[in-house]
């Protein structure tokens, strides 16, 4: 798979249209790597001139900041900003709502001012610009429910872009009782992804999976690699992995378009 880096681009004297910020999960997590590849396939299909930072990319510092380590966050942010500004990056797209939020909202006052898009917003733009079509026959008739990532939804009030894309797949979108601004967290945010939960009577991802299962879905669609992990684990816990798939919207589009 051809994934150009900013260093390559610079060596050739080119400036890509957009930087794809892959994020730690998208780079290292086996499940999330599939989302990164699906998104790259879509970028290729739409002939988007993009590049990644590759080995020059580093943690945005989001998890450190939410853990309370403002020092580490700002160190990461300033190093990344130095790299991004060095390449004169203007436009960034990412499949990770945590990176999206941090880059978009928390980098500007530290000197990193970019146009930042979540991949669902970016794909939506590709469609409206006539650069991409979604085949609405491949997945026709499937029941799909969408789990709003907190850092895309409540944190940045992006509720419609992912839903618009799901509707274009020709599937039946069914909402959970808690959706959009009242959506329940998957349990991974605020650095919970990296630690055991405090004692309680249930795990949050199990409660959220129950919300999703109430809609009797064939597919639980997500827009965040961490939500994807949590919901996948929830489905395993409920022993429903034979009936219910957990997929990122990028994966669904790549599948619909036979990429």
């Amino acid at each position: 798979m051809i994934v150009p880096t900013m260093a390559d681009m610079m060596a050739q004297g080119k400036q890509p249209e957009v930087l794809f910020w892959v994020g730690a999960a998208g780079s290292y997590d086996d499940r999330a790597k599939k989302i990164s590849r699906a998104f790259v396939k879509i970028l290729h299909q739409a002939k988007v001139d993009f590049a990644v930072l590759g080995t020059e990319e580093s943690s945005t510092g989001d998890a450190a900041k939410r853990s309370g380590n403002e020092f580490l966050f700002q160190m990461q942010a300033m190093m990344n900003i130095e790299v991004l500004n060095g390449y004169e990056v203007k436009k960034i797209v990412t499949c990770d709502p945590h990176s999206f939020n941090t880059l978009k909202n928390e980098y500007p006052s530290l000197g990193g001012k970019y146009e930042v898009y979540h991949h669902t917003q970016f794909i939506q733009n590709l469609i409206s610009e006539g650069r991409l079509d979604i085949d609405n026959t491949t997945l026709k008739g499937k029941r799909v429910t969408f789990h709003d990532p907190c850092y895309l939804g409540r944190a940045n009030e992006v509720y419609e872009s992912p839903r618009d894309l799901i509707k274009r797949l020709g599937v039946n979108l069914t909402e959970m009782k808690r959706n959009k601004s009242t959506a329940l967290c998957c349990g991974a945010g605020g650095a919970q992804m990296f630690k055991e939960p405090e004692k309680g009577d249930k795990d949050i991802n199990v409660l959220r999976t129950e919300d999703a299962l109430e809609t009797k879905p064939n597919i639980i669609a997500t827009g965040c690699p961490y939500c994807n992990t949590m919901m996948t684990d929830g489905i395993k816990f409920k022993e429903k992995e034979a009936e219910v798939l957990v997929k990122d919207i990028a994966e669904l589009i790549a599948e619909a378009n036979n990429l």
Binding site: A24, G26, G68, E106, P197, I204
Partner: protein, 438 residues
């Protein structure tokens, strides 16, 4: 002698309002113990928020039943207060229903008739509220932080309102001239039969007694506010005005940290340089918050504004799954501690004397703080834009940056970020391997 009631009324009014003002000054002083934060930008947007959310109750109705009942009580409360103005003028000048002459019988009757209907609706709504709190199984009213005073406080307010509304109706019912005129007695006329056979003198006594208890009750209620969750009827307005306007996902970047990080990353910086004149004082005492004075004044205003409705807690993923964290308790603890600090200052001639306690540990445990997913559900839910998450984050910052007291797994995660730029222990040189794995 004939001016004795007027005099007594004036004294009661001065005492009631005076004591209230004294407490409000204390409240304002306590809020100012918080750190400065600039919330005076974007005035039109702030004003709009206040008008929509506080005055217009736009977030209350997201839960339709309690939202509707709340609007009934709220509208009733505001409109019936026009009647209180008349009571005050009557009380001070010894007049009786002074607005009647000023406004004309017809319009006056229309107003009082409307007030009577509203008073009845408020009474009914308040009874339903009482039933919801005491005879229904609504989880957010039964949480453990709601035991004792918070529960009694909620009920006291409802009893106050029931009594005040009843007195208003009884007062009108026992007013012979008002009933004989028969204009505006929409509800009170149904109470009149209860007084069948009472002498004019007895009725007059009932009317006067109701009138006096009603106005004294209002003054007592006014002063109850300061000690109660009911402060929200006033503070909802500044609280929505000064609320955060940035996207909810945007957490503030600590400027004190930025200065230090810039220095660390500056290749020209001399690590052995003597600090500049006055720089010593510029270094903040601590990063993050362990006590109320480390929070900013908007967070402290939030604490006083919270009416403990529990919508935040009932939407908190951690609380819903049985964890210790309750965003409402974060706000209650912050207020309790702030009031404790305020009493300490009062008792020590205006200076805070260390009492060996702080918000962290003595009120809020690290276990509560670490259970938060930072999902913003509590912030979204709050009908008056309180931000419990910002307090949780500031306290986590203290735990991590001052005490190095993060859970072990988080320390490992942070070490990984420092060493290899990812929360997991992978080599940064492998960061693009995903592209070639299929």
């Amino acid at each position: 002698m004939q001016y004795l009631p007027n005099l007594f009324f004036a004294l009661a009014l001065i005492a009631g309002i005076g004591f209230f003002v004294m407490n409000i000054r204390k409240l304002s002083r306590n809020i100012k113990l918080g750190k400065d934060v600039n919330r005076t930008d974007k005035k039109p947007e702030r004003l709009k928020n206040m008008l929509m959310i506080a005055l217009g109750q736009s977030k209350m109705v997201k839960r339709p039943l309690s939202g509707f009942l709340h609007i009934v009580v709220y509208v009733g409360f505001i409109i019936i207060n026009i009647e209180v103005l008349e009571i005050i003028i009557d009380g001070l000048f010894g007049t009786h229903r002074v607005f009647k002459g000023l406004l004309g019988d017809g319009f006056y009757g229309f107003l009082i008739g409307t007030f009577e209907i509203l008073a009845t609706l408020v009474f009914v709504a308040v009874v339903i509220f009482w039933l919801r709190r005491n005879a229904s199984n609504i989880k957010r009213f039964l949480s453990k932080e709601m035991k004792g005073w918070p529960k009694n406080d909620g009920n006291n307010i409802l009893y106050f309102e029931m009594v005040l509304m009843s007195l208003f109706l009884i007062m009108n019912a026992a007013d012979i001239h008002f009933q004989e005129a028969g204009v505006g007695n929409t509800i009170s006329k149904f109470i009149v039969p209860l007084f069948d056979g009472f002498s004019a003198e007895t009725l007059h006594t009932i009317e006067r007694t109701s009138w006096w208890i009603h106005i004294l009750g209002i003054l007592v209620f006014l002063n109850y506010l300061y000690y109660s969750k009911h402060l929200h009827i006033l503070l909802a307005f500044p609280n929505t005005y000064f609320a955060n306007l940035n996207p909810k996902g945007q957490f503030n970047n600590l400027e004190s940290v930025t200065t230090e990080v810039k220095l660390m990353m500056d290749p020209d910086a001399d690590p052995y340089a003597a600090p500049a004149e006055g720089a010593e004082e510029a270094v903040p005492e601590k990063f993050g918050a362990s006590d109320v004075a480390d929070l900013n004044w908007v967070q402290l205003l939030n604490a006083y504004t919270c009416t403990k409705c529990g919508r935040c807690t009932s939407s908190c993923p951690a609380n819903l799954t049985g964890k210790e964290l309750s965003p409402r308790k974060i706000m209650m603890d912050t207020r309790d501690r702030l009031e404790e600090v305020g009493r300490n200052i009062d008792a020590n001639k205006g200076v805070f004397v260390d009492d060996g306690k702080q918000l962290l540990n003595d009120y809020i445990s690290p276990e509560e703080l670490w259970a938060c997913t930072s999902c913003n559900a509590c912030v979204e839910e709050c009908p008056v834009n309180i931000d419990p998450l910002s307090i949780i984050m500031d306290m986590r910052r203290y735990l991590v940056m001052e005490e190095s007291a993060a859970p072990q797994e988080l320390n490992m995660m942070m070490t990984n970020i420092e060493n290899n730029g990812a929360p997991w222990q992978y080599n940064q040189q492998d960061r693009l391997n995903w592209a070639n794995e299929e």
